[in-house]
């Protein structure tokens, strides 16, 4: 813990850190690979929609001695699809199986009759429509559309449009990966899955916003200094909130992992699997994309701004000068001490305020950002 705590302190001061922004190309590549695989999985295997979405067949049996869970196994065997079994007040069973047409339903009916030990004629077979009908789906899409527009507007106002764009990219990234992996695993899509996806949508944005908030704060007075470029500030800000990101992700993932691996895996609970898989993948992707995708993307967009380009030039020029002046004491960007510590060794390369002015004035002839001060 003490080592962890010190690591936190060093991360906070920027003494150690991982160059998330600099190595972004690698992580873009990784993400692209996963996304492509997810889309491939989605197009090749497709989603296996549950009875709630596509309807199916319902079989009502007379009173039988077979238990609901046994009947479920039998029904799934007979149909090759997930089955929902409920006991009725009459003592009979209601068995619902998705993706079944009339011809197939007769087959299943015969098989069920054999398995359950009742007469085939006594089983009443009928087709059922989806309970999650088109109306619900359409309204859900409309709602999502409106939300996306509003959230982009909100983020553009609270932060800036670049962050809104990056957050949206990260969101799409997370959802695509989750849906793709869901298709690859081949679990049936139930309303639980959709609820899980919506939860992820919320979480992904939430996590990105927390990271952006710290980025916004640390880049507030960026043009007043000449020590760091925007990318470096962004990188420092990710590293400074890294402890928080890891802790939050662990805390959010632990219970879901419990559901997925213990609840679903060991205890063998069916629907829990559906939900916790989408949650697990989505939460992990959400935490990953905030750090590896969203923030580097903002940095990249931001560096295209003339103001930031000018800043970068100034910073590089100053570093070159510092290296010339006192080659021995030249500091690498990652290992530089805290700007606000104002420690003796720091005074050599001015931190903030008036001390930077002579330097930038001396070098910054005709630079736009120089005028704006």
């Amino acid at each position: 813990m003490s080592r962890l705590g010190t690591l936190g302190a060093r991360l906070h001061r920027g003494e150690v850190g991982y160059d998330f922004v600099g190595k972004r190309k690698i992580w873009y590549g990784v993400s692209l690979l996963i996304t492509v695989a997810a889309i491939l999985g989605l197009t090749v295997k497709g989603l296996n929609m549950g009875i709630e979405f596509q309807g199916g067949a319902v079989f009502t049996t007379p009173k039988t001695s077979v238990s609901a869970s046994q009947a479920e196994e039998k029904a799934e065997e007979a149909a090759g699809h997930d089955a929902i079994v409920q006991e009725l007040g009459t003592g009979g069973l209601r068995i619902m199986i998705s993706g079944v047409d009339t011809a197939k339903s007769d087959e299943i009916k015969a098989e069920l009759a054999k398995d359950l030990g009742v007469k085939s004629d006594d089983i009443n077979a009928d087709l059922v429509g989806p309970s999650w009908g088109e109306q619900i789906a359409n309204k859900a899409w409309t709602g999502l559309g409106i939300f996306m527009v509003l959230v982009v507007i909100y983020l553009a106002m609270a932060f800036e449009w670049r962050m809104a764009v990056a957050a949206l990219v990260a969101l799409i990234h997370d959802i695509t990966i989750t849906v793709g992996i869901y298709a690859l695993v081949g679990f049936e899509v139930t309303p639980g899955t959709v609820i899980g996806l919506l939860t992820i949508l919320g979480y992904s944005l939430y996590d990105t916003v927390v990271v952006f908030d710290s980025l916004k704060e640390s880049s507030k007075d960026i043009t007043k200094q000449t020590r760091w470029t925007y990318s470096e500030i962004a990188n420092r800000s990710i590293n400074a909130t890294l402890v928080r990101s890891i802790n939050t992700t662990v805390v959010a993932l632990l219970p879901v992992a419990g559901l997925l691996f213990i609840g679903g895996g060991v205890l063998g609970a069916g629907m829990l699997n559906d939900i916790s898989l989408s949650l697990f993948v989505g939460l992990a992707a959400g935490a990953y994309s905030s750090i590896f995708i969203a923030t580097p993307l903002v940095a990249e967009l931001k560096e295209r701004e003339p103001q930031m380009k000018a800043l970068k030039k100034r910073v590089l020029a100053k570093r070159a000068a510092a290296a010339q002046g006192e080659a021995a004491e030249a500091t690498a960007p990652g290992g530089a001490p805290e700007p606000r510590d104002a420690e003796p060794e720091d005074t050599a390369h001015a931190v903030v305020g008036p001390r930077t002015q002579p330097v930038s004035r001396g070098r910054g002839r005709g630079r736009p950002s120089g005028k704006r001060r």
Partner: protein, 610 residues
Amino acid sequence: MRVDSRAGRLERKNEKVAAPKKGRRTSAQSRPGRSLVLILIAIVALTGGMFLSGHTTPRLGIDLAGGTSITLKAKSEPGQENAVNQTNMNTAVGIIERRVNGLGVSEAEVQTQGNDNIIVNIPRGTNEKQAREQVGTTAQLYFRPVIATEVSAGEATASPSPSASGSASPSADKDKATSSDSSATPSSSATPSASATSQGRAVTDALKADSTASPSASASPSGSASAAASASPAATGTPDPSSDLQQQYAALDCTDPEQRAKAGDGVKPSESTVACGTNSQGQWQKYILGPAEVEGTDVDDASAVFDTQSAAGWKVTMEFTDAGAKKFADITGKLAQNQSPQNQFAIVLDGEVVSDPYVSQALTGGSAEISGSFNQESAESLANVLSYGALPLSFEEQSVTTVTAALGGEQLQAGLIAGAIGLALVIIYLVVYYRGLSLIAIFSLLVSAALTYTIMALLGPTIGFALNLPAVCGAIVAIGITADSFIVYFERIRDEIREGRTLRPAVERAWPRARRTILVSDFVSFLAAAVLFIVTVGKVQGFAFTLGLTTLLDVVVVFLFTKPLMTILARSKFFSSGHSWSGLDPKRLGAKPPLRRTRRVSAPVEPKEA
């Protein structure tokens, strides 16, 4: 002690620095005890309410607890054999879904079965009787002018209208009474006057006028009744009710359920018709009604209201759409010029007259109400049914049966066990990483859990909120989001300590920054919840409700519990001295001692990073 006084001085200094710049109020920080008491009272009140209401567990959805399954069969009506088709069935499913699951939180499921059946599954614990009423009602609502009306007695079938005049006098009285709530005391003149003092609403005003007139009206009962029968066509200028209709009217015996059910069957809204209804004495009343002037589709919204002023009991008020309000003003304006009973309009629901108020002037308020012998349940059912519109088909109940949980108890049990293990891991992680601070996190999580649980339990009986398995999983994920708020705050505090501050100023300085992060990110979650709740229906709406609730609770807990508790604990020696188990030990956090000495130097720079 020395430590304490110094911390206090530093705190004041920091407040001075922070306050002018950001204009932040520090009052919340100075009275941490008050908000703690507030939230404790809230928890106690909610828990007490939960036990008082007798619903100590949240209602579970049909997947976890089972429930009742109602099978409805569409009736094909004569002349409209093609009406039972896919489109109409789907529309009916949509409307029934909204009726039983208006807020999306009751977890009821509606789907078609075969060609002409609809299955409605309602979780256990729902008011089954009410639900059955709601799903079965077609809710075709029409406002029709009354052309003639009288009490329908058994003998009326045999005798033509003139002979009915004898019984007409009670009828005239009762008409008025129907809408004026005096169901218990029919002949008492006190009741009408009681209602007279009451409502400001236009319709009831009209009723009031009639009620007061009624005592004198008894003098001319036969006259008005016969006039109604014979003179009506000419007087109203409505299309002549064919002699056919007159005959139907004469022959109609509303006391006979079979005849009642058939009355007005298959009549188009644009045609005149005969209909039955009960008056306030519980007697059957029969009517000849003109073409429908306002329809159910003109009703924008309906709600059940308890009329406290006139002791009228429950009634249903309807708000019209703009077009509906105009139509309603037109018809009431026309009717107001007529003589009784042609100044009445009948509110016809599914072929039965539920109310027949008098009109004395055009009603332009854009609203109307149905009063009568409602109780709370029936008024709410009717309002609900009217709000979501009429079914395109009429249905009859085919079977009602209980069903067991689709997922069975073992799924919920597995989920809970897994969730508990997960939670235990979270607590272990927090304790190992945050040590003493984890106490605050765990208490906050407990408070959050207590609030969520009691509110969900209380929402069961009030708005029909039911938890299904996905919602249980969502609640588990919510743990992560709630814990994140604490983690953001703790990390801020630790960052402040790393910069060399002592605990108390660190706690206060970290708060505004953590608060902003928490608010901004929770706002995004809440935005998602609000938009989805307003726009969507069904389970998505239910999800949005849960998300919004947990997000709000997160903010409440962090503001009213975590922060005040942190402030109070920061005063304790254990935390402020940076005990190695407090999770705030400056040495372990890697704070650099020299920084403390240079605080003065760093102070002017502070605003830059704040």
